[in-house]
């Protein structure tokens, strides 16, 4: 079985693809009986240091409905200089440039190791990246100061030729003109009035070919588009100016009376930002970066009124249909998000406040455009500062880890159709022969637009096997999928990455064990989780849980080995062994449980879950727990209350939080100050070890996790206690004895109970 693990790992490293099934059931009926759909997690821009891009255009299949890219799976007739498309079987002439082609002189795209290949192509003028800061000024002085410093710092991190723009908002929205000398100039908009894109452009003077102020100078050649507008200027020419401008930013001057929230026009500010870019730079890479310190309180997109006595909506209110602004606000932001996506721009939301800021309503802005969503308590925290800095991180090759305006085109063999995708994307509504009528996620298309992505952005793509049961296993025995991702590289180059993969077909009746063995339970857990979370956005929580449970039971029924009605006989093969546990933790995760989470937090968690790669997603589903003790080297331990021992230090990584938990004894030792005594230096080291490991995680993760250092009995220990499997609770405390582990005060079922129940249901002949 190690071979399959290796195969999966190899494929992931090379192609950034992980399928739930690596051997495919050959008919529709069998595929549906597999319970877990045939699907994959695709990381389109997975960082590949060993993949130098080629500097020419890809060769396309000439059939207009296909246009698949020449790949190693194609059959090539070197003498006739012909190649056959492996998707539609069209025979194609090689272009003239390939005249010298032969068995020994192959272009890269035909070599098997280039199942993933990247082309650099020349398409249209290259426009610099655009960063439009949209800043809330209704902040506390301290917060605003910190934010200003972060922003000023960020100017030095931007690509030198990048264009920057600045919009500030509070009660009013100000669009700052950056090109002017001396007097600083801004256009001001009422925060309560919804303006159309046309109105915004008229009011900003963008409708005319050139701004009147610039007319005094000789006009540029008319066919050359104006590279900058008054509001978006190259960072290298105005960074001094902008630094000063940011430095002079004041808190929103309008008085806020006692018992009121400041009037915050987030909705209009975003609308103007979107309209501005729409009018000036459609279809070029641009980030709208929204920094907000509270909920929108007026105008379109308002989430809560300005009366402090009416609190912002909670899940309880939403269930009771008591959130009066939610629907309207959501609609406003959805419209904006869709417009932004249509323009190929993205919206980041950096929301830092102790209370909710309306992420629930605004989430689509980031979700549909591939923007970042960052939530923190204050702009004056390292969580925000570090996270924001990491937006501009560079990869190993010195390139920004961001790409823009991508379109993902998926092509399949005839036996497969595309059911949909889940990830930070929008549909491009490309209907075609390979589009399934059944939708999973964002379906009905074979193309999606991902306005912004980074090397870890991962989409879940769901397929449907359409081969009929009685049809033979398809010719060649392999099914193929091609992913074509066209995008704007951070260097502003246009690039196309093509990944072509193939998997064997197998007859589920005769070769079930092959299919079973090729099951990727990690990928499957994430893919199912994405479906569940996707459903949870629109359906009631309990329905989703029931659905997940049913799927799990069906899977166990299908692949478990058991005697009917004998739960004790139930066994799962190794390739399925972890899956139920993933599901157990998923059920308890904040992605599906809203209890104890605000709507904003739920939106935030779900946002990240829908875009991270497999490893990170798994951490989110089932946090990782390490134990540090004198008894041996640090080791991963079960995410179980039994792992909580007095003489251990635990390090838990939930993706969103890093928790260091000192066991009771360790905490007492620390209080006694042993770590400062030379003779107990080993204790000092022990204390230090998890800190170092935590630092390592903190360094690389985006967004920066919340770092929690706590100890036995500490109030923050709840972060750990709420995650571990409650194998010991106050209910069964005496049965288990007090020696091992810590009891959790919860009525939640433990994994043991869950598994027992699962077995019972799986083996039951009644279901």
């Amino acid at each position: 079985m190690a071979t399959y693990l290796e195969f999966i790992q190899q494929n992931e490293e090379r192609d950034g693809v992980r399928f739930s099934w690596n051997v495919w059931p050959s008919s529709r009926l069998e595929a549906t009986r597999m319970v877990v759909p045939l699907a994959c997690l695709l990381t389109p821009l997975k960082e590949r240091l060993d993949l130098p891009p080629v500097q020419y255009e890809p060769v396309l299949c000439s059939r207009p409905t296909c246009k698949a890219v020449l790949n190693p799976l194609c059959q090539v007739d070197y003498r006739a200089k012909l190649w056959a498309c492996n998707f539609c079987f069209q025979r194609n002439q090689f272009p003239p440039a390939y005249a010298g082609i032969s068995e020994v002189n192959q272009p890269a795209e035909l070599m098997p190791q280039f199942s993933t290949i990247e082309y650099i192509v020349q398409r249209g003028p290259q426009t610099p990246l655009i960063f439009l800061y949209v800043i809330d000024t209704c902040l506390e002085e301290e917060d605003l100061q910190a934010l200003k410093e972060s922003l000023q710092m960020s100017l030095s991190l931007l690509p030198a030729d990048a264009l920057v723009g600045l919009i500030t908002f509070g009660r009013m929205v100000q669009v700052h003109e950056l090109s002017c000398e001396g007097i600083s100039k801004s256009y001001v908009f009422r925060g309560t009035k919804d303006l159309t894109a046309k109105q915004i452009q008229d009011m900003l003077g963008l409708s005319k070919p050139a701004a009147p102020i610039q007319q005094g100078r000789p006009l540029q050649a008319p066919e050359q588009p104006v590279i900058s507008s008054r509001f978006l200027q190259p960072v290298h020419t105005i960074d001094m100016n902008l630094t000063d401008l940011l430095g002079e930013l004041q808190r929103d001057p309008w008085p806020v009376t006692q018992g009121k929230r400041p009037l915050r026009s987030t909705g209009v500010a975003l609308s103007i930002a979107v309209g501005l870019l729409e009018g000036t730079f459609p279809n070029t890479g641009a980030r709208i970066m929204l920094f907000t310190g509270g909920p929108p309180t007026q105008g379109p997109g308002m989430v809560v009124g300005d009366e402090l006595k009416t609190p912002i909506r909670s899940w309880h209110d939403i269930e009771k249909d008591n959130a009066r602004f939610m629907k309207k606000a959501t609609k406003h932001y959805e419209t904006l998000a869709n417009r932004t996506a249509a323009n190929g721009h993205c919206i980041d939301i950096y929301a830092c406040a102790l209370d909710q800021t309306g992420l629930l309503e605004m989430k689509c802005c980031a979700n549909l455009t591939g923007g970042h969503m960052v939530m923190g308590d204050s702009f004056n925290t390292s969580l925000f500062k570090q996270t924001f800095q990491r937006v501009f991180n560079k990869g190993f090759n010195g390139e920004f880890r961001m790409a823009f305006g991508a379109s993902l085109d998926v092509k399949t063999s005839r036996e497969l159709k595309i059911a949909g995708a889940i990830g930070p994307c929008v549909s491009l509504n490309a209907k075609g022969p390979c589009v399934s009528e059944n939708e999973l996620g964002i379906g009905g298309t074979s193309q999606w637009k991902i306005c912004s992505l980074d090397p870890s952005t991962t989409l879940a793509i769901y397929f449907e096997v359409v081969n009929q049961h009685n049809a033979p296993v398809p010719q060649g025995g392999r099914g193929a999928v091609q992913f074509v991702t066209q995008y704007q590289h951070s260097s502003t180059q246009k690039r196309i990455r093509v990944t072509t993969i193939a998997r064997n077909w197998a007859d589920a009746q005769s070769q079930l064990q092959h299919i079973e063995a090729a099951f990727d339970q990690e990928a499957a857990a994430v893919l199912m989780a994405r479906l569940g979370v996707y459903r949870a956005e629109s359906e009631e929580g309990p329905d989703v849980l029931r659905w997940l449970d049913r799927q799990l039971i069906r899977l166990c029924q299908k692949f478990g080995q058991y005697n009917k009605d004998d739960p004790n006989s139930f066994r799962l093969s190794e390739s399925f062994s972890l899956y139920p546990q993933f599901m157990f933790h998923l059920r308890r995760s904040p992605f599906l449980q809203v209890f104890n989470n605000s709507p904003d937090e739920s939106s935030y968690y779900r946002h990240h879950f829908a875009r991270q790669d497999l490893t990170q997603s798994l951490i989110m589903i089932q946090p990782i727990l390490y134990a540090y003790s004198f008894h041996g080297p640090p080791e991963p331990v079960l995410l179980d209350s039994s792992s909580i021992l007095p003489d251990r230090i635990l390090l838990m990584d939930t993706f969103f939080q890093i928790v260091i938990y000192l066991g009771e004894t360790i905490a007492q030792w620390q209080k006694a100050g042993y770590q400062d005594m030379p003779e107990y230096e080993n204790f000092k080291h022990l204390l230090q070890a998890p800190l170092d490991d935590a630092q390592e995680i903190l360094q690389t993760r985006f967004p920066m996790p919340r770092y929690i250092h706590t100890e036995h009995g500490g109030s923050q220990a709840r972060f750990l206690l709420s995650k571990v499997n409650p194998s010991q609770t106050h209910n069964n405390l005496y049965a288990w004895g007090q020696e091992s582990g810590a009891p959790i005060l919860t009525d939640d079922v433990s994994l043991q109970v869950f598994m027992d129940h699962l077995k019972k249901l799986a083996v039951s002949s009644a279901s």
Partner: protein
Amino acid sequence: PGFAPPPSSTGIGPSSYPPATGAPRPPTMPGPPLPGQTVAGPPASQPNHVSSPPPPSAMSGPHPAPPVSGLHGPPPPTHPPQPGYQMQQNGSFGQVRGPQPNYGGAYPGTPNYGSQPGPPPPPKRLDPDSIPSPIQVIEDDRSNRGSEPFVTGVRGQVPPLVTTNFLVRDQGNASPRYIRCTSYNIPCTSDMAKQSQVPLAAVIKPLATLPPEETLPYLVDHGESGPVRCNRCKAYMCPFMQFIEGGRRFQCCFCSCVTEVPPHYFQHLDHTGKRVDFYDRPELSLGSYEFLATVDYCKNNKFPSPPAFIFMIDVSYNAVKSGLVRLICEELKSLLDYLPREGNMEESAIRVGFVTYNKVLHFYNVKSSLAQPQMMVVSDVADMFVPLLDGFLVNVNESRTVIASLLDQIPEMFADTRETETVFAPVIQAGLEALKAAECAGKLFIFHTSLPIAEAPGKLKNRDDKKLINTDKEKTLFQPQTSFYNNLAKDCVAQGCCVDLFLFPNQYLDVATLGVVTHQTGGSIYKYAYFQLETDQDRFLNDLRRDVQKEVGFDAVMRVRTSTGIRATDFFGAFYMSNTTDVEMAGLDCDKTITVEFKHDDKLSEDSGALLQCALLYTSCAGQRRLRIHNLSLNCCTQLADLYRNCETDTLINYLAKYAYRGVLSSPVKTVRDALINQCAQILACYRKNCASPSSAGQLILPECMKLLPVYLNCVLKSDVLQPGLEVTTDDRAYIRQLVTSMDVAETNVFFYPRLLPLTKADVDSDSLPAAIRNSEERLSKGDIYLLENGLNIFVWVGVNVQQGLIQNLFGVSSFSQISNALSTLPVLENPFSKKVRSIIDMLQVQRSRYMKLIIVKQEDKLEMLFKHFLVEDKSLSGGASYVDFLCHMHKEIRQLLS
């Protein structure tokens, strides 16, 4: 003065009408057949002998002792012996039955008539010297009453004329500088008033500037409970209140209600019934004084904040190109140090703000803590708002450097602008919103250049149409083209936002509409057509300086209370009224005048007379809430003769002009003119019938006080609003209409009958002005230089035969032909004549509330047409009658009424 031409029955041919074309004489003087044509009477043969002894016929008038003098009692010694002017009927008056060919509608005469050098000595039928002369009346009053101070202690005293320099001593009645009445003796009954047709009106200038010799109204503080007032009619404590019951109560002089004297105000009475503290309390001994208002008198029961001035500058292409923007910015830099301040304060409490605009508005943050001003553009003109709170309105001293930097940069920023379209209503809205946000009253100074055609609320279209003149639709030219501005004005008044408008049009910009807000908020309009930096800069800057510096009150409400029996029924001026009694003005400056008309609603008694109390509640420039009270007591009469003896024609004309100018909004101009003539004819006919001693029906007998009524009325009728000259634009008419509505008596006097001074007769060694002469071309001599001023313009007319030496002295050129009529100022030359003329001009400029435009007119030059328009005793090109003709017409009307 008396004039009785020999009876003639020979008036035959000359009345032929229409006159034969080409006939040398009749078309130019198509008046009624004239006695002069008989070439018989001695007056006709000596038309110009002003100093010649009165013609024998005058002496031989039927009543050598003038009819009116009997009613008047002994005439003042210097008065001419015959106060009544008698014009003997001649046959022609009776003969003509049809419309007077020389009066009324368009004058069919040849257009170049007026430019003919010197009227050919026509066979006179009426000696211009023998008809009442405004100059004579003014001179007489000056010499009679100019020397003594006018003491206001006596009820019903007629003050000296506005043209007379006199001092006022307040002894219980308001100075005539504050209030002037059409009559100081009011008929006791409404029947009498109706019979006489004399309008009862008061022209009130509540914040009038006083000469330095006179004291400003004292400020009285009645403490927390506020000014002492009558319980019923709420009249304020004044000298006419009667204290009774040993001073414990007082009886209201207006409504007779008895009110308890508040304990803190109690004072014992002396043996005459006067309070012991009579002389210590201005409100008991003076006609004018101020009360400090309490919080009850403030909006929202909150003491007001100091007001703000917002300067709003059009920066569209025209404004920038003409250099206007730079000029304004330069001027503001120094002008801001001269904002009005309360007498004893170190610096002005007024805050300032700046806006520029074209199609969009630019607000400026000039907070003192900023290194550079910040500009905030609001392009959402459909829904105006103020984009900033802090830093828009600032103290000049604190933000001095930021403001200076801003004013330096504004002309630079817009130097290359190509924007030609402007908005207007949003500009006012912006100012209004800013004041609202700052919770204060204030004034907007808007500098605007063009018709606001950009897409925005209050957008206007060019609807100027000369063809409408003399049609029933002419009134639409004076009406605003949209009601939008009326509503805006209402909002402005509610906030105390006064709008001053400086217009620099190069074409029609619809003053009638743009001026609505200005007018209703008590603001001023200044108009500089075809503004050119070189010629108009001085005038504009002087106006601007004066406008910014002058004393002004904000958020004002004025109410006029009267004795039971009469009631204020109608109001004229720049203000807004939300009910029938309260005159509301967002701003009221020292030049603004309100004319109030009274009507009887009951009887008055001769004993108690009639009292007026004008109370003005306003916020001073330092933000203090105050009440200014003016009291005036008038006599009442049961004899019409008493009424006619105590009238004031200048005030009457002020009222009539305002009444007529309002009339053009709703009636055709012709109707308005006819109504005016009719009313005056009735006034005079009533006099003739009831007060003049019996005399021949053919005699025109005028009351002494009203002997100038015909000439002045004719001037009103010929004015550009009621009978536009050829060159007068629709905007000019609307502008003048609005100006006149706020004018005081002195201004209307000189506006309608301009002052014409022979400069060459000036005594270079004294300070005095040369004696004025009458406004007629025949009074001009080719060898002299004249100055004519009407409050808006100064003309310097140079005759063709003026000595070269004078021309050299005045213009610095050697000959008449070298005089440039493009001059807007006289060159500064070091010779007595030049100095004298310039000092005269300076003196005149100081007297007027607006800086007058100086126009050099050379005789026989094209510009002379314009000049002649102001020679109001002559027939005007646009058809206005000459004084003589009008007097004849008036006489005819009166006779018709009498018969």
